[in-house]
Amino acid sequence: MQRNLNHTKICVIEKVIDETPTVRTLIFSDDIMSSVLPGQFAMVWIPGINELPMSVMIAQEPGKAAFTVRKHGPASTGLFNVKIGQQIGVRGPYGNSFDLKQGKLLLVGGGTGLVPMMRLLTHIKPNDDVTVLIGAKSKNEVFFEDLANNLLKNNTHRVIVTTDDGTYGEKGFVTDMVEKLVNEISFDGIYTCGPEIMMYKTVHLAHSKGLFVQASLERMMKCGVGICGSCCVGEDLVCKDGTVFDGEHLISNKEFGHFHRNKAGILENY
């Protein structure tokens, strides 16, 4: 019988990398997950605990993939605590992917929102001129800076880190840096993933300059396949129509940047 990608497949964690005190990357082998498109995600089962949507992280070895998880509530903490040799279940990949332009590119990531950005970097063309903005609250929350530089070593590029408290890189919100850059440079494509307020500002800044921008959204997810409705944002279903949306589309969506739904499906303010 054919493997159904909606049926959870058990994978064994082969390697764990501590990115920060609260962020870990868990590496495993799976052909399908190793070659997903940038922006695509999986539903990740932590047996006995929960199941979470997770962007699929690159693993820089053929046939391997990873998840980079920040420990937060019980579910993500459960995943964070999975040890080498332990099993997780994976279904997917789900969702669409970024429409990668060529030329001058700006990637804006915050926290684990950097995960799809890293995979996007593996798809850039040799002639692209790439700027990566990494936003963090504080020095000890910065990760993937070296990885980004490494992935871009054959391109003209800059990796700029901002911290809210100025303990590392530039001081200030990452979106202040976005504002500065879009005023200076006419980017061919801007891509963002991270906290919704960051994406909201980035989208509006880019849009006000008439620049092409895409954001990868997060919402409560139960099914990942467009059945349960829990991930809706206005009339869009993030798991099926997204997670990547054009800035233009998002600007006309009255929930983007303002509301998300809780587990009962009630709209809550961000």
């Binding site: 049926h7 539903m43 047996p47 979470l52 139960k222 059945i227 099926k240």
Partner: protein
């Protein structure tokens, strides 16, 4: 003359016979609008309770190797009051409100909360197979079903539909009780209680262990129920369970359904499924020379 897709489920009249099933994408008016534009003849809301429910922790749904889905979302919903507010702006969409509760008053309270909303019917969920004290546990008690149906009938003039499924009491007893108490139509069927175990970790996959089987695997069983109900009772029926193609839809109509609902197929084929099925029905009617859906309902019983 071109065939018409208009169909009547008793007093409920629909432009098109293909509806959205309850629990599928059914928590937002914006999405309802989109589905209606995509071809749904009506949309049924997620089953609503008197209070908001979070539902079960994930995993709540997954796909089966070989086709079909098992879910135990646990009836997560924003509660009837919140939902009534959400759909206040509704102008165009034929909305059916699905309700779930344990006692007659739960249902009448909720109906009251929708009295100013534009809803074309209520569907009483007597058949969710994986949440305690509601759904099937209610449907399994024909006396309670009678009380609920009578109470709702006394609270509103809007048509009410009973949604049945395979429980511990034979579903025809539930159908019988609902008809006795004046129900306007029957939806058959809900998901069928099921389980799946992961052999590597040796545990049930869903957090609730048990869930409901939906999608293609249950179609021949759902079709059987529609055929049995329509053979035994003179009541409008909405067919539901595993419908994913226009042929499936026609099978249900030939078995006695006046309309059909689509759930899991959306997970497999996305929302194009509404127009695909509508078009398929239309072409079939044209080819066979039917002008109205009504002419086809129950034909398979005549053979």
């Amino acid at each position: 003359m071109e065939p018409s897709l208009v169909t009547s489920i008793g007093k409920i009249q629909l432009e098109r016979p293909v509806m959205l099933a309850s629990g599928i994408l059914g928590i937002s008016l914006d999405v309802f609008n989109r589905l209606y534009r995509s071809g749904a003849g009506a949309v049924v809301s997620k089953s609503l309770s008197t209070e908001p429910w979070d539902g079960y922790p994930n995993p709540t749904i997954f796909g089966i190797n070989g086709g079909g889905w098992i879910n135990a979302v646990g009836l997560s919903n924003p509660g009837a009051q919140n939902f009534a507010k959400m759909i206040e702006p509704n102008k165009d969409v034929p909305i059916i409100i699905s309700l779930v509760g344990s006692i007659p008053e739960d249902f009448s309270t909720m109906v009251e909360q929708f009295k100013n909303s534009k809803v074309i019917a209520y569907e009483l969920n007597l058949s969710c197979p994986h949440v305690a004290k509601v759904g099937l546990e209610v449907g399994d008690d024909p006396e309670l079903v009678k009380k609920i149906v009578s109470t709702v009938k006394n609270s509103t003039n809007v048509p009410i539909i009973a949604k049945v499924g395979l429980g511990t009491t034979h579903y025809l007893n539930t159908v019988n009780a609902a008809i006795d108490s004046g129900i306007d139509a029957i939806t058959a069927i809900n998901t069928i209680r099921a389980i799946a175990i992961d052999v590597e970790t040796q545990r049930p996959i869903l957090s609730n262990k048990f869930g409901g089987l939906s999608g293609t695997p249950i179609k021949p069983i759902a079709l059987r129920c529609v055929y049995e109900i329509s053979s035994k009772y003179n009541i409008p029926i909405i067919g539901c369970g595993g419908i994913s193609t226009w042929e499936d839809a026609i099978e249900f109509i030939l078995a006695g359904a006046s309309a059909i609902q689509i759930g899991s197929a959306i997970g497999d084929n996305w929302i194009h499924v509404f127009n695909d099925i509508n078009n398929g029905i239309f072409q079939y009617m044209k080819r066979k020379g039917y002008s109205k859906i009504d002419e086809m309902i129950g034909l398979a019983k005549k053979s």
